[in-house]
């Protein structure tokens, strides 16, 4: 029932909104929150408590406490007291078995008390240990907050926005508006964020932007303030931050202080002024400062009868207790005097909301005179204005707790979020949790949805009293972001993962390729028939997109000397137009990458790297270039160029159709590099053979990659050309025992033990890692990377153990079935003593030992006749 129109009301009575509570239609006005509209419809029980399932009603009505958490349109844990009402909103209670009014689980409150003291699950439900998952599931079901619909998927969209401002004002109260106005008047660019509905007309005329409702979640270094604006997380970078978060009314601690009908003065003020609602018909008011007590006038104007006003500045009652029927307030006892009422307005004074300041690095101290914690010594570029800075009228400091006395034995809550009573806190102290930081973790006081707003100060007061010390000695718990609960979806944002795609990607998709991730690249695993793709390369011709290869141009007068000093292989004597392979070593002699290097002319080298190694190698080259100060430019061309490897006995025939270049074996030999137009596109052609057959890598500018690929497929169709993917490539290279860095090597592998002593030129004066490789040579090889073929038909798993005398002595790094050889083949690290042709290996496969033989030379074409043909 609404009161007659009031001067400050926010509602627009000319229009009605319909929403649904538990499926039943309810009505409200624009300007209502879901909470105020429900209150207007007569609802008083808004939630059930975390642990005891006690009925709870509006307490703060300002988005601080947990009492009005409900599910709105499928979203759990919505504070309905600040959620603006929408037409058609569907509202439900949460954390109940039954309904809000009849919750079966409230039996815990009646009989479960003795069995469920704070931290009981650490002691009473730990044996047998196997049963813990059952207990855990049970506890999770009966306690806690709302539930997420796991099947719903992404129902809401969350975005992240980055903003820079000169001044960010947090809080839209009187002090915040004044600060914003003043800064704007100085010509500064100002944004004000307010967690409520915003300052409305009070901010009128100010030339600053207002964002509301929007909660600042924390203050991080560099002036970073993430703000939860509902569907958008705004990451503010502010040159100056003005904190105007005000002060929060603190509840008194007495038996029955959580009954429905017990409210803080602010809640009463909002209900009467903003939504023209009468909070109760007969009220008792207990307050410690003028602001709390002045609510009496508002109540009277709303027609509430005042039963008694207790001014804690003038009188110091020893006993206060509230009693109720079915969870609703029925009477209040003050020093034995019983007062029937349905509303108890209580406040123990206001505590500056200092959390954001503390996060920013302010020092917070207890002010014994005013009985509150206040911020002092603010960090540079952070200001505090208004009540949060401690500008509070003085009031009385209430008692830590009020005993009920007599028959009043109701629970006395320190923390309404987590259902922690004074008895729980006393028990924790008796168990030895005398530090507030440890006690917090044990009792969970301050760890609930209010994040200490309503329980930090009362719990500190209680600790001080129980420990016989003062609040300053107890101190406070560390303030950490987020200051307010925030949904994980908002923090996660849109979650796009950047992927690298070659310029030929769309063609692969059209060909029905199965794609896979290799690092950040999307690459072709196969076009559906890896074995057929291998066969095409051996018998006709195949084409594979190798645009992902790292491609680095090293140029300058010192280019040859630079590579000579960096790589273990020799490059000073490489003739222009020729190619040489090398591994690249770290300064500890380990293999970091491998690839071919083509000398384009005297001063220019074209370095290729593995697909995932491009960035690391490029940085490695630039780093050494800077260290040595040589006359070299390093340009990473990886993305600039597309590359296609055309391989197979008919590759030359295909290439001959597309270029004027003389492609005969005599003039374009194995390991030659040439520039020519292929199908009209200028290309760098490298005759190399990773897959073991006659082959050419064609490198061209990326925008022509797709055209070149399509032309190759078209003109090679009659030759039996098939595109092939990584899976086929892996089989083909294994037949040649060509290593894959990262697959067959790890961070400990060196070129000598990997079976490539020929790439290490010890007679060079110097190269990166030389001393380490010399050391390996002197101490002797301990293990070796060797090829093996299985005696049986089984393909051993990659990573499988090599077993010697019943003990693991090595591992398989690659293994595949070779259709060409009709055998299972692979590469493995074995003890150096086993690295002999025909040596027998035992490999563990599914618990059995399978036999294999060592093969030191390539399985296929060991003399490279096909490559050179």
């Amino acid at each position: 029932m609404r009161l007659p129109p009031r001067p400050q009301e926010r509602i627009d009575r000319s229009r009605e909104l319909t929403f649904f509570f538990e499926g039943e239609p309810r009505h409200g006005f624009p300007g209502d929150t879901v909470g105020s509209a429900l209150f207007a419809s007569g609802r008083r029980v808004f939630s059930r408590s975390f642990k005891y399932h006690r009925p709870r009603g509006l307490l703060c009505c300002s988005g601080q406490c947990p009492n009005c958490l409900m599910q709105v349109d499928g979203v759990p844990n919505v504070r309905v007291c600040t959620m603006p009402l929408r037409e058609g909103a569907r509202v439900r209670g949460q954390n109940v078995l039954g309904s809000l009014d009849r919750d079966v689980m409230s039996v815990v409150d009646k009989i479960g008390g003795p069995f469920t003291p704070v931290g009981f699950y650490y002691r009473t439900m730990i044996r047998p240990r196997r049963a813990w998952p059952l207990y855990e599931r049970f506890l999770r079901n009966v306690a806690g907050l709302g539930k997420i619909d796991r099947g719903a998927g992404r129902t809401r969209r969350f975005d992240t926005e980055h903003r820079r401002v000169e001044v960010l004002v947090i809080g839209g109260g009187r002090a915040g508006i004044e600060a914003a106005r003043a800064a704007a008047a100085r010509g500064e660019q100002v944004v004000l964020v307010d967690e409520g509905l915003g300052p409305g007309e009070r901010a009128a005329g100010g030339s600053f932007e207002v964002i509301a409702p929007a909660r600042a979640l924390g203050i991080y270094e560099g002036g970073l303030v993430p703000v939860d604006a509902g569907q958008v997380l705004i990451r503010f970078r502010a040159r100056r931050i003005v904190v105007a978060t005000g002060a929060i009314e603190q509840p008194l601690v007495f038996p029955g202080n959580d009954l429905v009908g017990v409210m803080l003065p602010g809640a009463v003020r909002r209900l009467t002024d903003e939504w023209s609602l009468r909070p109760g018909s007969r009220a008792v008011v207990i307050g410690a400062d003028e602001r709390a007590l002045s609510v009496v006038a508002e109540l009277r104007s709303a027609g509430t009868e005042i039963a008694r006003v207790v001014d804690l500045r003038a009188e110091s009652p020893r006993r206060i207790a509230a009693e109720g029927k079915k969870g609703r307030l029925a009477s209040v006892l003050v020093d034995g005097e019983g007062l029937d009422c349905d509303l108890l307005v209580m406040s123990g004074g206001r505590q500056p909301a200092y959390s954001l300041l503390a996060q920013a690095g302010a020092r917070i101290e207890y002010d014994a005179g005013r009985g509150v914690f206040v911020p002092i010594e603010l960090p540079a570029s952070v200001e505090a204005v208004g009540a949060v800075a401690g500008e509070l009228p003085s009031g009385a400091t209430p008692a830590a707790t009020y005993e009920g006395g007599g028959k009043a034995r109701g629970k006395c809550f320190v923390c309404v979020c987590e259902d922690v009573t004074t008895k729980d806190v006393r028990r924790a102290i008796a168990e030895g949790f005398d530090s507030i930081e440890l006690a917090k973790r044990y009792t969970t006081v301050t760890m609930g949805p209010c994040q200490g707003r309503l329980c930090q100060l009362p719990s500190v007061r209680l600790y001080a009293r129980e420990n016989g010390t003062d609040e300053a000695a107890i101190g406070r718990t560390t303030a950490r972001p987020p200051w307010a609960p925030v949904s994980l979806g908002l923090l996660a944002g849109r979650g796009h993962e950047p992927a690298r795609r070659t310029s030929i990607h769309e063609r692969h998709v059209q060909l029905g390729a199965r794609m896979m991730w290799t690092g950040a690249w999307r690459r072709v695993h196969s076009y559906g028939d890896p074995a057929g793709e291998v066969r095409a390369v051996h018998e006709a011709v195949g084409a594979i997109d190798v645009s992902t290869l790292g491609k680095i141009l090293v140029s300058g007068p010192d280019a040859a000397a630079f590579l000579e000093r960096l790589y273990p292989n020799r490059f000073g004597d490489l003739r222009p137009g020729r190619i040489r392979y090398s591994v690249l070593g770290t300064d500890a002699g380990r293999i970091m990458d491998d690839g071919t290097i083509a000398r384009l002319d005297d001063d220019r080298f074209y370095v290729t790297t593995t697909s995932t190694g491009a960035d690391v190698v490029s940085e490695w080259l630039e780093w050494w270039n800077a260290v040595w100060g040589m006359g070299v430019e390093v340009v990473n061309l990886t993305g600039a160029l597309a590359a296609v490897n055309v391989a197979g006995p008919r590759a030359r025939e295909l290439l001959g159709r597309l270029t004027d270049l003389d492609v005969s074996n005599e003039s374009f030999s194995y390991l030659d590099a040439k520039q020519a137009h292929v199908a009209g596109v200028p290309c760098l052609l490298l005759r190399i053979g990773f897959v073991g057959e006659l082959g050419y890598e064609l490198h061209c500018s990326s925008p022509y990659g797709e055209y070149l690929w399509s032309t190759l497929l078209e003109r090679g169709a009659d030759l039996g050309l098939r595109p092939f993917g990584l899976e086929a490539q892996r089989v083909l290279r294994l037949e040649k025992q060509h290593i894959l860095v990262g697959q067959d090597t790890d961070s400990e592998s060196n070129a000598l033990e990997a079976g490539m002593p020929w790439v290490v030129k010890f007679d060079k004066d110097e190269f990166v890692g030389k001393w380490a490789l010399e050391h390996v040579r002197e101490r002797g090889l301990r293990e070796r990377l060797v090829g093996f073929e299985m005696t049986g038909w089984t393909v051993p798993p990659e990573g499988g153990q090599i077993v010697v005398d019943g003990r693991p002595a090595g591992r398989v790094t690659s293994a595949r079935w070779s259709g060409e050889l009709r055998r299972a083949i692979g590469l493995a690290w074995v003890p150096a003593a086993l690295a002999e042709e025909d040596a027998e290996l035992a490999i563990r496969v599914d618990g059995r030992l399978e036999q294999a033989r060592v093969r030191l030379r390539p399985f296929l074409d060991p003399d490279g006749e096909r490559l050179r043909s």
Binding site: D159, V635, S701, P703, E706
Partner: protein
């Protein structure tokens, strides 16, 4: 072999049954985009390492300093060859990066705020846009992004998605 022709996009030859097709890395990804998003990938782009202080070879080319020793020049596609030639100098390394960088023109500061934490009043700058290292330029409410072409589809997806969320 003084010029590395395979690095350039304007050295193709038509004839003999071949007709090379330049295809923008954004061609597929922007097929459904509105008029507020424009593909700039075909623009001529030349990166120079070395001193360009006194260079005045091609007045129409736009000059974007990247670092003290690196400069990016933008020009119309047909002017790229002239620009390369004008810049050629033994003291400089000139690399045609036309094929390396994709380009995208967008409208609206709010959209950019959803994509990057760069200071939009301090452009041009190089930084992460949708987690991809990007050169960002601004003219009023119009922004131009240049980034590695292999991220083109990824970038277009993020940009169009962010625009849909405004």
């Amino acid at each position: 072999m003084s010029e590395l022709e395979f690095l350039s996009t304007d050295r193709t030859r038509t004839g003999g049954g071949f007709e090379p097709v330049f295809r923008s890395p954004l061609a597929d990804a922007l097929a459904a985009a509105g008029p507020d998003v424009r593909d700039l990938s075909a623009l001529g782009k030349v990166e120079v390492r070395g001193d360009v202080e006194g260079f005045d070879g091609l007045a129409s080319a736009e000059r974007i300093p990247l670092t003290p020793g690196r400069t990016l020049f933008l020009c119309a596609p047909e002017e790229t060859a002239r620009l390369r030639e004008a810049l050629a100098d033994p003291s400089r390394t000139v690399v045609d990066v036309t094929g390396a960088l994709a380009g995208l023109e967008l409208r609206g500061e709010r959209l950019l705020r959803r994509l990057t934490d760069l200071d939009l009043d301090g452009l041009p700058a190089v930084g992460a846009v949708a987690r991809v290292t990007t050169i960002v330029l601004r003219t009023g409410e119009e922004f131009r992004l240049f980034f590695p072409q292999e991220y083109a589809r990824s970038m277009a997806e993020v940009v169009l998605d962010a625009a849909a969320g405004l």
